[in-house]
């Protein structure tokens, strides 16, 4: 019977922590944040390899940590499956032996059958008798995943599991894990600094900076509705501006330089006055001036391309809008940039979609 993971951690040293997290069975939560933000320390706390100053970790009825009553279960007593960044397979044991060592109970024959089953699940049939040094990076990662599952864990922890392989292997392994997790009904926590990976894999993303959980939401909400400017910046967004909330309660307006924008319903509860706001790139529509037909509610603004850099199949643009005294950043597919003849110095027309304009909370 799978149970929810519920954790609360507080610490000052060596890495400050202040986080509350709940992960439902079958749910995959990604912890993202810059290096040294405490993501891996949180995993180590769950695994029992690190003791925080204060905190509680509970999985269903099992209390793994409760500093209030001085309870700290050692790693051996926590049913945790963990995939380490560098896998940490036992080099003197074969793939199968790596798995059976983590199994508790069962006869040798049962363990053998179970290891065959697990190896088949991670597409390693036929490689059971190989030693880690005889396997490729991707195959080693698969053994590590199988070993983590071999213990029938109550929670699965993945510490940057794709960082040690090349790009094409990473994509393949991500696909495999996305398929595999459909059959896993325990809470899963993934640590990564790769935003795209978190977005692709996770049901929920928790943004962490200096050990502090800043926002915890599903990827769609997080990338479109970051709570604060800090979260938006950590998610790699630059389109953060300051404006003045005006208009009436039901028809809010946003004064941005000399431009008057009509934001969406979200702004009805926003008090009047100066406010920081954000718009995701997906809600900025870029058009050639000659192709533009705009109405009063279209939030159209003229701009001039200041910078146009081709990055593989994407083109990164920086557009200066003199009316708003601001610069917007956005990526467009390379073929579109070519078709629309987007080059430095070109005048373009930008439409900011109403629902994309999002007010940010003060820090």
């Amino acid at each position: 019977m799978s149970a929810e993971l519920d954790l609360l951690l507080e610490a000052r040293r060596p890495i400050p922590l202040d986080i509350r997290l709940r992960v439902a069975p079958g749910e995959l939560v990604a912890l993202v944040g810059p290096s040294g933000s405490g993501k891996s320390t949180i995993l180590r706390c769950i695994a029992g390899l690190h003791r925080p100053d204060k905190g509680s970790i509970r999985i269903g009825q099992e209390q793994w940590l409760d500093t209030g009553t001085n309870r700290m279960c050692p790693p051996q007593q926590r049913r945790v499956g963990i995939v380490f960044q560098d896998y940490l397979l036992f080099p003197h044991l074969t793939a199968r032996q790596n798995l059976t060592l983590a199994m508790t109970g069962g006869t040798a024959a049962e363990q053998r059958q179970r290891s065959d089953q697990l190896l088949e699940q991670v597409h390693l049939t036929g490689l059971a008798e190989r030693y880690p040094a005889q396997l490729s990076g991707g195959q080693q990662q698969r053994v590590a995943v199988a070993r983590a599952l071999a213990r029938d864990p109550s929670v699965l922890l993945l510490d940057e599991p794709f960082s040690a392989v090349d790009r094409s292997t990473r994509t393949r392994l991500q696909r495999e894990l996305a398929l595999l997790r459909r059959s896993i009904d325990i809470p899963m926590v993934l640590v990564t600094h790769d935003l795209e990976e978190a977005r692709a894999m996770a049901d929920r993303i928790c943004v962490i900076q200096a050990g502090c959980g800043l926002q915890d939401a599903d990827p769609e909400t997080l990338f479109r509705r970051p709570r604060t400017a800090r979260v938006a910046r950590l998610l790699g967004s630059y389109n953060i501006f300051r404006g003045e909330r005006g208009g009436s309660a039901n028809t809010p307006e946003l004064q941005w330089g000399s431009v008057r924008l009509r934001p969406g319903k979200e702004w009805r509860d926003q008090p009047a006055g100066s406010v920081e706001w954000f718009i995701p790139e997906s809600d900025i529509v870029l058009q050639r001036p000659e192709a533009t037909k705009t109405g009063p509610d279209d939030n159209g603004i003229q701009g001039c391309i200041q910078e146009c850099v081709s990055l593989g199949n994407r083109t990164s643009l920086r557009v200066v809008c003199p009316d708003a005294n601001a610069t917007l950043s956005l990526d467009v597919p390379h073929h579109r940039a070519r078709r629309q003849r987007l080059t430095t110095g070109e005048i373009v027309w930008l439409r900011l979609l109403q629902d994309g304009i999002h007010p940010l909370q003060p820090e």
Binding site: F84, L88, L89, H92, T104, A150, R151
Partner: protein
């Protein structure tokens, strides 16, 4: 060939190795994993017999084992016998001068085991003891074998310290290395040659074994 001396040497080497091996594993593991003040001092102390002239070490041990020194006096009180010129005395001396051979290879081996591997074992549900038996020991095994062979062979070949502490009492302290010296003094080149050839063969096989294992050990390293 002095069979009594050979048997005595083998007995001494067996006892020394049996006593030193657990000490070497415990000390080597401790020094490999722990960082503390004074670690360098302890390592230097263990390595000292490597650089100290055997006669110097022998002289200090002779003094410490004598009835006037606390250790020698205590031993005399407990057993009624003297440590000097006895098998127990040369065994104790042998343990001390072989300490670096028993500790250093094991320590180096433990240092190559990534710290995370122990944590991985704990997360697989293995207790500290099972982690040691199933993960650490198999990985440091070449180092343990090296320590075993080096200690054994070095004990058989040791001359200076044993002569200083034990003298050359037949059946009690005259080891094969001392017997060779005695035979040369007595112009018995044939016996000295036979015993020397035996020691040469044993040493060569032993050192070959150590190098062979060192090569195999490197193949097991984590990539």
């Amino acid at each position: 060939m002095d069979w009594t001396a050979l048997r005595l040497s083998l007995e001494l080497a067996a006892w020394t190795t049996a006593i030193l091996l657990p000490i070497g594993i415990i000390l080597g593991r401790w020094l490999a994993h722990r960082r503390f003040r004074g670690r360098g001092f302890i390592e230097a102390l263990i390595a000292l017999p490597l650089v100290l002239p055997p006669t110097v070490l022998g002289f200090y041990l002779l003094s410490a084992f004598s009835g006037e020194a606390p250790l020698g006096a205590l031993w005399q009180q407990l057993t009624g016998g003297s440590l000097n010129f006895s098998f127990t005395g040369i065994l104790l001396a042998s343990i001390i001068f072989n300490l670096p051979f028993a500790v250093q290879p094991v320590q180096r081996a433990f240092e190559t085991v990534p710290a995370g591997l122990r944590e991985a074992a704990w997360c697989c549900g293995l207790s500290d003891w099972r982690t040691f038996l199933r993960v650490e020991l198999p990985l440091v095994w070449p180092g343990v074998i090296s320590a075993f062979v080096l200690t054994f062979v070095h004990t058989i070949g040791e001359f200076g310290v044993v002569l200083m502490v034990g003298g050359a009492i037949d059946g009690e302290t005259r080891t094969i290395a001392i017997a060779i010296y005695d035979r040369v003094q007595a112009f018995d080149d044939e016996a000295a040659g036979a015993m020397s050839l035996l020691l040469l063969t044993v040493s060569f096989v032993a050192i070959g074994l150590v190098y062979g294992l060192a090569g195999r050990g490197s193949a097991l390293r984590v990539r």
